[in-house]
C-alpha cells in the first residue's frame, strides 16, 4: 500500500499532497514539513530510501523519493511495495507529467494542481497501483480532457481567452525551471514504460 504521495519543492513548499489515510490538516502539514526535513538534508548521490516510519503508520513504512531539479517526489509506502518498483513508478509519474504538460516545470504544478491530481488518479487509486503503462495513462487523461472541453463548449471559450490574457500579462512566467530532466539512471524494469 502507498500511504501518501507528496510533492514539494526545494524549500519545502507543498506542490501536491495526497494522503491515502485520513489526517487532520495540521498533521498533514506537519508530516509534509518533517518529510521535507528528512529528505532535504540528504546528499544527491545517496540511496533514495528512508526508514522514517515515525510519521505515518509504524516502522513498517518507508519513504522512497526522487529529486528532480526543484522538486521532490516522495512516496510513503509499507513493506508490501517493492522499493525499486516504486522508484520506477515515480519515474513513470514524472514522465507522464512531462508528456501531459509538454515539458513540465514547477510552475505547471503550481498552477494546475488539480490536473496533477487527475493524472495521479489514473496511476494510483486509494493507495494501490492502478496502472503502470504510461501510454494507457495518457490515453485516459486525454480522453477526460476532451470531455471537459466539449462540456465547456462555447461558454468556455471566453473564459479560456480571459485566462490566456491573464497569463500573458504575467512577466514572471518563466518556462526554464525544467524538471523534464529524466535521463537519471533507472536501473530496472524496461517493460515498465
Amino acid at each position: 500500500m502507498i500511504k501518501a504521495i507528496l510533492i514539494f519543492n526545494n524549500h519545502g513548499k507543498p506542490r501536491m499532497s495526497k494522503f491515502y489515510e485520513h489526517y487532520t490538516e495540521d498533521t498533514e502539514q506537519q508530516i509534509i514539513r518533517e518529510t521535507f526535513h528528512l529528505v532535504s538534508k540528504r546528499d544527491e548521490n545517496i540511496c533514495n530510501f528512508l526508514e522514517g516510519g515515525l510519521l505515518i503508520g509504524g516502522s513498517d513504512n518507508k519513504l522512497i523519493y526522487r529529486h528532480y531539479a526543484t522538486l521532490y517526489f516522495v512516496f510513503c509506502v509499507d513493506s508490501s511495495e517493492s522499493e525499486l518498483g516504486i522508484l520506477d513508478l515515480i519515474q513513470v509519474f514524472v514522465e507522464t507529467l512531462d508528456k501531459c504538460f509538454e515539458n513540465v516545470c514547477e510552475l505547471d504544478l503550481i498552477f494546475h494542481v488539480d490536473k496533477v491530481h487527475n493524472i495521479l488518479a489514473e496511476m494510483v487509486m486509494g493507495g494501490m497501483v492502478l496502472e503502470t503503462n504510461m501510454s494507457e495513462i495518457i490515453t485516459q487523461v486525454e480522453a477526460q480532457g476532451k470531455m471537459e472541453k466539449s462540456e465547456a463548449g462555447i461558454a468556455g471559450a471566453p473564459a479560456r481567452a480571459v485566462s490566456a490574457v491573464k497569463n500573458m500579462n504575467l512577466p514572471e512566467m518563466p518556462k526554464n525551471i525544467n524538471i523534464g530532466d529524466i535521463s537519471i539512471k533507472v536501473p530496472n524494469l524496461p517493460s515498465f514504460k
Partner: protein
C-alpha cells in the same frame, strides 16, 4: 434563456479561478494569511450562489487551500452539491475535493450514497471512474455496506477501465465491510485470469494485500499464482506475485520446493534489478522455511549471496542498500555464508550514506563470534570516535552494547575488556544512552561474580573523576553512568581498595547538581561504604579513621538533607541521624561495625523481569475471595452468600499466607540450595574461578596514564585495545601450549596417526580468560514459559481473517473435527492379572455446515486389538453408538466417547464412520461420512509438575533409556520453543538455565519422560519406555516441521 447562460459565463470569467488564487497568494508573500482569509470570504460568497459553475470553481480553490493546511470541512455540503452536478468537469472537481477532505467523521457523507450509486451506473465510463476513485479515498463502513453489490457488478463491466478500478476498490470495501469478502471472492479470483492485463494486475494487487495479512486463507490460490508467475511478462505483476509467495512459503514448505527452480531461472534471466531483488528475497524466504528436513540448498544460498554481493558492490546506492537489507535476512538462518563477506560489510561502515552504514551495523550484529568480537568492536569504537552527528554515534553505541550483550553475553570471553569498553563509551559527549551503559555495568557487575573486583576499581575511578562526566550539565545523559558506578561501589564495597577515598568522592558538594535519583543512590551507597570503612577498622581501639569517617558524613550529609528531591532528603536525613547515633557510640568506644554492616547484609540477586508475573498462585489461595467481609449493601441480599464465602474461605487463605515467617523463609532457602547442589544442570559457583582471575588481574591493570591533550580521557582507565592485544597473546600462548601437549601425545603414541592442529581455530578452542559463572536470573519455581506477544486487537485486517476455502460449493453437510483431545485418563481398577487397562475419553465436535437439519447420527469405529470403543453392555462389538443430539443448521456440539486402550507406546489410527439423516423441507436422505481418529502418543502424556531434586534423582537412577533428536532450522526464540513443547506435548519446564531447559512429563501409565532441550535445538530425552519415547520425539519433530 440562452442569453442568461452567456451572461452568467461572462460574469464568471471575471471571478477568481484557481490560477488567480495561486497567483494572488504568490504576490502576497508578506501577508499571505490575511490574503487567504479574504479569499475564503469570497469563496463563501461564491458558494452561496445558485450557479453550479461558480460553486465548482469555489470548491476547486478550496481543494488548493486544503493542501496548504486550511480546514475546509465547513464546505462539505457544497462539495456534495458539486459532486452531484451532471457535468463531468464539475463532478470531477467535487469528487477530488471530497477525496481530499472527507473521512469517516464527515456527517454529510451519508447523503452521498445515492449519488454515488447513480454515478457508478452512469453510461459514461469516466463518471463511473471518477466516482470509484473518489470513493476509494473516503469509503466508510456504511458506504461499503450499501455499495458493495454495485461495485461487485462493476467487476464484470464490459470496459476494462471500469473493471480494474472496481477490482481495486474492493480491497477498501473489504477493509470497511469484511462480510463482503466471502461473496466477492469467487469473482475476484476469476479476475486473476482476466484478458486485460490491467485488470489482472489489479486483482493480483488486491489479493496480495489481503494475503499479506492472513496468508493461510490464500494458500489454495498458489497453483493459480504459480501459473501466472511462469506466464506473465508484466514485471509489476511478477514482483507482486513473488512477494506474495514470500508470504505463503512459511505456511506450506512444499510450495517452496516447487518455487526454487522457476525463481532461480528468473534470477538468471531477468535484466530488471527490481525483479531480481524480489526473487532473491523470496528465495531467501523459501530457504528459511525449508531449512528443516531438506537436503542442502547450498547452491541456492550461494547464488543469492553472490547476487547480493553484486548489488552491494554496485555504485548505485539504492542497490547497495537493498543488498544489505536482504543479506541480513540470510544472516538469520545461514550466518556462515554471510560471514565470509565480512570485509564487504565492514567496508560499508565507511560509506558516506547513513542509511547504508546503519544497515551494515545491523549485519554486524549477527556476524560476531567469540573469535572476532573484540576486533569488530574495536573497529566500531574507531567509528564512534570519527562519527559526526549524535544520532549516528548513539546508534553505534547501542549497537556495540547490543552486539556484546547478545544472548546473555555469549560471545564475551573477557569481561574486563567489556567493562573497559563501557568505561570508554562514557567519554562520549552528549549521548542519550547513559542509562544503557549504566544498566550494562550493573548487569555485568551483578551477574559476573569474578569481575566485581575489577568493576569496582573502575567505577571508583569513574566516581573520582565524576566532574569529567558532568562537566556539561545540559547534556548530561551520560551522568546516568554515575548511578551505576555509585551503586556498584557501594554494593560490592568489600572489593574497594580505598573505600574512604571513594566515600569522599561521593560526598563532594558538586554531587548536589546531579539529578535526584542519582543523588539518592549516592546517599544510600555512601552509607554502605560507611559500613565497610567501619568494618575495616573494626577491632582497632579508638580508631581515628572510623571516627573521621563519621565526621565526614556528618559534615557532608546536611547538604543532601536540604535537597528538593524527596527521596534524597528522606534517605539523607535518615542516614544522618544514624551516623550521629553511631558517632555517640564510637565516642563511648562501643563496637558498632558489626551492627552497621548488618544493615546491608545479604546479597542481591538479579531477578528476571517477568518473575513476578510467573509466581504460581499457591494452592488454596483464592485471589478473588474477600479478605474482609464485603461492605453490605442491604441486609437481605447479604444473608445467603455470607454463609458460603465470607466466613470460610478468606480465613483459610489468610492463615496460609501469614504462616510464612522468617524461619520458614530461611528453611526454604536452605532447601533450594540443596536442590541446586544436586541438580546437574545448575551452574554452581566454584571457588576456583576466583583464583584463575586473580592471578593475571593485577598485572593487567596498567600504570596511570595522564593525557592532558584529550580532556575527556579518564585517567587510570585501562584501554580496551590493550585487552585486545593481551587476548591475542593469550590465545597464541594457549595454542602453543596445546600444540606442545599434542606433540607430547604424539611422541607417546607415535604409532598412531593424528591430525595436526593447523588451520584456523575453531570456536570451541577459545577458552574464556576468566572462568566466569554467569548467574542466571531468578525465576519462581514452576514458572512456565509463556507467549507474551499479543496481536493488536484493533488491527482492521483481523476481521478479514476468513477461511475462504470453507465456502467451496461442494461443501460437506457436516464438518467433522478429528480427535480433539483425550481428556480423562487412568482407570482406577487393576485386574488381578496385572494387565493395565486404561480408559480414554475422546471428545468430538460435530459442526453442521449445511442448511439442513441433521438427525439420527450414529458413530462407529472399527476396533483394533489395542483400542476399543466402549459400548454399552449387551451391545455387539460392531454396533454403533447413537450421538445423543441432533444438529440444526450451523450449530456445533460436542460428544464424548470412551475407548479402552491397552498399550500406549504406539500411536494409533482408528477408522470410523458416521451415519446420519439429512432432513430438508422436501426430503430426507441418508448419508455417511468416513473419518479417522488419530491417537498420538503425545495425547497420552499428562502435564505433571516435577521438582528439580526429584528430577535429578530420576535421571541418576539409571532406569531410563536415552535418545536424542535434532531439530533443524528452528529460528524462534527459545522460550517460544519451550512454550510450544509445553503446549503441544504436555510437558512442564522443570528448570531453565540460560541455554538449556529440562522438561518433564508423565504418561497415563506412569512412564517418566524427561527432556533436555538446548538452544542449539537439540533434544536429549530419556524415558523408561524406548518406543514411547521414539514416538513422542517423532511427534515433536512433526510439530516443528509444520512451523
Amino acid at each position: 434563456m440562452a442569453l442568461k447562460i452567456v451572461k452568467g459565463s461572462i460574469d464568471r470569467m471575471f471571478d477568481k479561478n484557481l490560477q488567480d488564487l495561486v497567483r494572488g497568494i504568490r504576490n502576497h508573500k508578506e501577508d499571505e494569511a490575511k490574503y487567504i482569509s479574504t479569499c475564503i470570504d469570497e469563496i463563501k460568497q461564491e458558494l452561496k450562489q445558485d450557479n453550479i459553475a461558480v460553486k465548482a470553481n469555489a470548491v476547486c480553490k478550496l481543494t488548493y487551500l486544503q493542501m496548504l493546511g486550511y480546514d475546509v470541512s465547513w464546505a462539505a455540503f457544497n462539495i456534495v452539491e458539486v459532486m452531484s452536478s451532471s457535468k463531468f468537469t464539475y463532478k470531477r472537481i467535487g469528487y477530488l475535493a471530497a477525496s481530499q477532505c472527507f473521512h469517516e467523521g464527515t456527517d454529510v457523507i451519508m447523503l452521498t450514497t445515492n449519488q454515488i450509486r447513480k454515478d457508478l451506473s452512469s453510461p459514461n465510463q469516466y463518471d463511473t471512474g471518477v466516482a470509484l476513485t473518489g470513493l476509494s479515498c473516503f469509503v466508510t463502513p456504511d458506504l461499503a455496506r450499501d455499495l458493495a453489490n454495485d461495485i461487485m457488478t462493476l467487476m464484470s463491466h464490459t470496459k476494462p477501465y471500469i473493471r480494474k478500478k472496481a477490482v481495486l476498490i474492493m480491497y477498501k470495501v473489504f477493509l470497511k465491510y469484511p462480510e463482503s469478502l466471502r461473496p466477492a471472492f469467487p469473482r475476484l479470483k476469476e479476475k486473476l485470469e482476466d484478458p486485460d492485463p490491467g485488470v489482472q494486475s489489479a486483482a493480483v494487487n488486491v489479493i496480495c494485500e489481503l494475503a499479506r495479512r492472513n496468508p493461510k486463507n490464500y494458500l489454495s490460490l498458489a497453483p493459480l499464482f504459480f501459473k501466472l508467475m511462469t506466464s506473465s511478462t508484466n514485471n509489476w505483476v511478477l514482483i507482486k506475485i513473488i512477494k506474495l509467495f514470500g508470504a505463503l512459503t512459511p505456511l506450506e514448505p512444499r510450495l517452496g520446493k516447487k518455487l526454487i527452480e522457476p525463481l532461480t531461472n528468473l534470477i538468471h534471466s531477468t535484466s530488471a534489478m527490481s525483479l531480481l531483488y524480489e526473487c532473491v528475497n523470496t528465495v531467501i524466504a523459501v530457504l528459511i522455511s525449508l531449512s528443516s528436513g531438506m537436503p542442502n540448498h547450498s547452491a541456492s544460498i550461494q547464488l543469492c549471496v553472490q547476487k547480493l554481493r553484486i548489488l552491494i558492490e554496485d555504485s548505485d546506492q539504492n542497490l547497495k542498500y537493498l543488498g544489505l537489507l536482504a543479506m541480513s535476512k540470510i544472516l538469520k538462518t545461514h550466518p556462515k555464508s554471510v560471514q565470509s563477506h565480512k570485509d564487504l560489510i565492514l567496508q560499508c561502515l565507511d560509506d558516506k550514506d547513513e542509511s547504508i552504514r546503519l544497515r551494515a551495523l545491523d549485519l554486524l550484529y549477527g556476524m560476531v563470534s567469540k573469535k572476532n568480537l573484540m576486533e569488530i568492536v574495536k573497529k566500531l569504537m574507531l567509528h564512534v570516535d570519527k562519527a559526526e552527528g549524535t544520532t549516528y554515534r548513539d546508534e553505534l553505541l547501542t549497537k556495540i552494547i547490543d552486539i556484546c550483550s547478545q544472548s546473555n553475553f555469549q560471545y564475551i570471553t573477557n569481561f574486563e575488556w567489556y567493562i573497559s569498553i563501557l568505561v570508554e563509551l562514557t567519554r562520549l559527549e552528549g549521548t542519550r544512552h547513559g542509562h544503557l551503559i549504566a544498566s550494562q555495568m550493573l548487569d555485568v557487575a551483578i551477574r559476573v561474580k569474578a569481575i566485581r573486583g575489577f568493576a569496582v576499581a573502575q567505577m571508583a575511578t569513574l566516581l573520582d573523576n565524576a566532574h569529567l562526566l558532568t562537566g556539561n550539565t545540559q547534556r548530561n545523559g551520560i551522568c546516568e553512568v554515575l548511578y551505576a558506578a555509585a551503586w556498584i561501589c557501594g554494593e560490592f564495597s568489600e572489593h574497594l581498595e580505598d573505600p574512604m577515598q571513594t566515600l569522599e568522592a561521593m560526598l563532594r558538594p558538586k554531587v548536589a547538581t546531579l539529578p535526584g535519583h542519582i543523588q539518592a543512590v549516592y546517599v544510600q551507597n555512601a552509607a554502605k561504604l560507611f559500613a565497610t570503612v567501619l568494618r575495616k577498622h573494626d577491632g582497632e581501639t579508638e580508631s581515628q579513621a572510623a571516627q573521621e569517617t563519621s565526621q565526614l558524613l556528618i559534615d557532608r550529609l546536611p547538604l543532601f538533607v536540604q535537597s528538593a528531591n524527596l527521596e534524597v532528603q528522606e534517605r539523607a536525613s535518615c542516614i544522618l541521624q544514624l551516623v550521629k547515633y553511631i558517632q555517640k557510640l564510637q565516642q563511648k568506644n562501643v563496637e558498632v561495625a558489626e551492627e552497621v554492616t548488618a544493615l546491608f547484609a545479604g546479597e542481591l540477586n538479579p531477578v528476571a523481569p517477568k518473575a513476578q508475573k510467573k509466581v504460581p498462585i499457591p494452592e488454596g489461595l483464592d485471589l478473588d475471595a474477600w479478605i474482609n467481609e464485603p461492605p453490605s449493601g442491604s441486609e437481605s441480599e447479604d444473608e445467603k452468600p455470607k454463609a458460603v464465602f465470607a466466613k470460610e474461605e478468606p480465613k483459610h487463605s489468610r492463615s496460609r499466607h501469614t504462616e510464612v515467617d522468617e524461619k520458614e523463609l530461611a528453611r526454604r532457602r536452605e532447601v533450594r540450595k540443596q536442590e541446586q547442589a544436586s541438580n546437574p544442570f545448575y551452574i554452581k559457583a566454584s571457588p576456583s574461578s576466583q583464583k584463575v582471575y586473580d592471578a593475571p588481574g593485577v598485572e593487567h591493570i596498567p600504570v596511570v596514564q595522564i593525557d592532558l591533550s584529550v580532556p575527556l580521557k579518564v585517567p587510570g582507565m585501562p584501554m580496551s585495545d590493550q585487552y585486545l592485544k593481551l587476548e591475542e597473546e593469550r590465545r597464541q600462548k594457549e595454542k602453543a601450549e596445546r600444540k606442545k601437549k599434542e606433540k607430547k601425545k604424539k611422541r607417546e603414541k607415535r604409532g598412531k596417526e593424528r591430525k595436526a592442529d593447523s588451520g584456523p581455530e575453531s570456536e570451541e578452542d577459545i577458552t574464556p580468560a576468566h572462568q566466569v559463572d554467569i548467574v542466571t536470573e531468578e525465576m519462581p519455581e514452576n514458572a512456565l514459559p509463556s507467549d507474551d506477544d499479543d496481536k493488536d486487537p484493533n488491527d482492521p485486517h483481523k476481521a478479514l481473517d476468513i477461511d475462504l476455502d470453507k465456502y467451496v460449493p461442494h461443501c460437506r453437510h457436516l464438518q467433522f473435527i478429528h480427535v480433539l483431545h483425550i481428556v480423562m485418563c487412568r482407570n482406577e481398577f487393576f485386574s488381578k492379572t496385572e494387565i493395565y487397562d486404561f480408559k480414554v475419553v475422546v471428545s468430538v465436535i460435530f459442526e453442521n455446515k449445511s442448511d439442513s437439519f441433521l438427525k439420527a447420527m450414529e458413530f462407529n469405529v472399527l476396533d483394533s486389538l489395542n483400542s476399543k470403543l466402549q459400548r454399552p453392555e449387551g451391545a455387539g462389538a460392531h454396533d454403533s453408538l447413537t450421538v445423543p443430539f441432533q444438529l440444526p443448521p450451523g450449530v456445533s456440539n460436542e460428544a464424548r466417547f470412551v475407548f479402552s486402550v491397552q498399550s500406549i507406546v504406539m500411536p494409533q489410527k482408528l477408522k470410523g464412520t458416521l451415519t446420519f439423516i439429512v432432513k430438508s423441507d422436501e426430503s430426507s436422505t441418508h448419508e455417511k461420512l468416513d473419518f479417522k481418529l488419530h491417537f498420538t502418543c503425545t495425547s497420552y502424556l499428562i502435564t505433571t509438575p516435577c521438582y528439580s531434586d526429584a528430577y535429578a534423582k530420576l535421571l541418576e537412577s539409571g532406569d531410563l533409556k536415552g535418545s536424542s533428536l535434532r531439530l533443524e532450522g528452528i529460528n524462534m526464540p527459545f522460550h517460544h520453543l519451550l512454550a510450544r513443547i509445553c503446549f503441544h506435548h504436555h510437558f512442564s519446564v522443570v528448570e531453565r538455565i540460560d541455554s538449556c531447559a529440562s522438561m518433564y512429563s508423565r504418561s497415563i501409565q506412569g512412564h517418566h519422560v524427561c527432556l533436555l532441550v538446548k538452544t542449539t535445538v537439540s533434544i536429549d530425552a530419556k524415558c523408561d519406555e524406548p518406543s514411547l519415547l521414539g514416538n513422542v520425539l517423532d511427534e515433536i519433530k512433526q510439530t516443528f516441521s509444520k512451523c
